[in-house]
C-alpha cells in the first residue's frame, strides 16, 4: 500500500460521507478542514469508515493526525501495511 493509495482511500471515504463536497482539487498538504466543509461529526465518520471498510483503528487521541491528506498517508500507511502482512 503506497501513500497515494491511502490518500485515495481517504478521498473515497470523504466522497461517500460528504457527497456535496467537491473533492477534485484537494491539496494534500493543506488541512482538510480548510478546504472542505467537514466538522467533528464528519471526522468521526471517516474514522468509523476506516474501521468498517478496512479494519483500521484510529484512537481518539490520534484524530489530529488525519488533518491533511499527507498526514493521513503518513499515519495510516503503516497501519494498512501491518494489516496486509
Amino acid at each position: 500500500m503506497t501513500h497515494e493509495e491511502v490518500k485515495q482511500i481517504v478521498l473515497d471515504i470523504i466522497a461517500e460521507i460528504a457527497p456535496d463536497e467537491d473533492i477534485s482539487n484537494v491539496k494534500p498538504d493543506v488541512r482538510l478542514r480548510e478546504q472542505l466543509d467537514l466538522d467533528s461529526m464528519d471526522f468521526l465518520d471517516i474514522v468509523m469508515e476506516l474501521r468498517k471498510k478496512h479494519g483500521i483503528e484510529v484512537p481518539e487521541e490520534d484524530y489530529t493526525k488525519l488533518a491533511s491528506l499527507d498526514s493521513c498517508a503518513e499515519y495510516l500507511t503503516p497501519k494498512f501495511k501491518a494489516k496486509a502482512s
Binding site: 457527497p19 456535496d20 466543509d37 461529526m41 465518520d45 468509523m48 481518539e60
Partner: protein
Amino acid sequence: MSTLEGERYDAVIIGAGMSGLAAGIRLALFNKRVLILERHNAPGGLNSYYSRSGLRFDVGLHAMTNFVRQGVKGTPLTKLFRQLRIPCEAFALCEQYGSRIHFPDVQLEFTNDFTHFESQIADKFPHEADNFRRLVVALKAFDETALDYQPCGAKDVIKKFIHDPILTDMLLLPLMYYGSANENDMDWAQFVIMFKSIYCEGFARPFEGVRCILRELTKKYKSLGGERKMGLGVKRIHTLNTHAKALELDNGSMITADHIFSSAGLVETLRLCDDQPPNTGGEHIGKLSYVETIHALDIQPSALGWKDTIVFFNTQKEFTYRCPQLPVDLHSGVICFPNNYHYVNDEPLEQGWLRITALANYNYWKSLAPDAYQDAKTEWFTQLTSTALNCLPPVSVDVLKSHTVDIDMFTPTTVERFTGHLGGAIYGSPQKNRNGKTHLDNLYLIGTDQGFLGIVGAMLSGISMANYHVLKND
C-alpha cells in the same frame, strides 16, 4: 410471529419517531444489531399521519424547519443529510410562500430570506433595528449544541438587546409554539436553535408531508439491516445496580441490549425502570399541551384569499404562553396551510387544509367522560376556528363550512395517547438533559427531552446521542 424472547441486541431504541429512526440509522450504518420498538402501528410519534374516509391527514409537522438551499454548508439540515447518508433530494423539500406573526396592532412577515425579516423589523420597529442586529450577532456566535451547556432563561438574555416588549413577544411566539416546554419563557439555547431554524433558515415541506420523511428514514434504516417491531412497546426496564440488564416487552418477552436509547421522555423513561418508585419525577412533567383543529377543504386555501404558509397569532396586548385555565386558550395560536408551499410545477395538494393549533388544559380534557369529551371538542372547535378567522383575510364561517369536506381535532389526551408524554406535554419536560445520560450507565435519552427541538432537532438528537454514547467509544 416472533416474540423476540431471549433476543440480544447491540442497541434497542424505544420509539419509532424522528429521533429513534435517526439513531437507528446511525447505529445500523456501523453494523450494530439494532431493534426499534414502537408501541403504535404508525411510526412518527408526535409527527405522524393517518387516513380516514379517503383523506390523508398529517399530524404534528406543520413545516420542516431549518430549510437551506442546496449547497449551503454547515447548517443542521446539511449535517443531517450527511450523517444519515440520505441524499437531500430524497425529502424533495419545497419552500414556503411566506409566514406572518400577527399581533393586535402590528404584523411581521418572514420568508426563507432572512433579509426580508430584518427589513420588516427595521420597518415596524425602527427604534429596535440596531438592537435586533446585535441580538442576531450574539446568537450566531453562540454554540447551542454544546452538550455541557448550563440552561438560562431566554427572556433575560433578549432583554440585554431588545427593549420593546411587543417585539420580544413577537419574536418569541413562533419559537415557543414550535418548541418550548417552559411556561412563559424558553431556555436560551432552545431560543437560539429555534431562532436559527425558523428565522435565519426557514420552512419547507415535502409534497407528501410527513409521510415522505418517515418513509425515507424507514427505508434507509431497513436497507442497513435495522430491525423494527411495530405495535410492541417496552413495559419495564429491569436493572441491576446502575445498569439496565433487560427489557420486558408488552407481550411479556424479555430481551437484552448493550445500549438502550429512549425517546419516551425523561419522566416516562425513569418510570419504566424497576429501581424507581412508580410516581418518580412528577414535578418534571411538562405542563404545555395543545389542541389542533383540522379542516379538510374542497378548495385550495389560496382561492379563499389565504396565501400565508403559517400565521402565528396573538390577540392580546401581552402574549402569554402557559397552560390556560380554560380548556383552550383562544388568545394565541398557529394557523397552518400545508398547501401554501412552492411545490414542483405548482402542483396542488389533493385537498385544501386549514390547521389551527392552540394551548390547551390537559386536566380539563382528561377529566371528561366520552360524551362530554365529544361535546367539548365540538364547542372548542367552533370557538377556535372563529378566533383564527379573525387573523386571516376575511372569509365567513358559512363560506368555510360550505367548502369543508371533513374535520378532525386532537386534544391533550390525543397527544398523550400517541406520544406517551405524560400530561400530553407536547414538548416534553421543561427539564432537558443535553448529554442524554440517566441514572443507568447504558440507558440514554433521545428526542424531545434530550433537548434538540423541532423536527430537524429531533433527528439530530438521535444522531448525536448514537455518536456520543456508542460510536465514538467503539
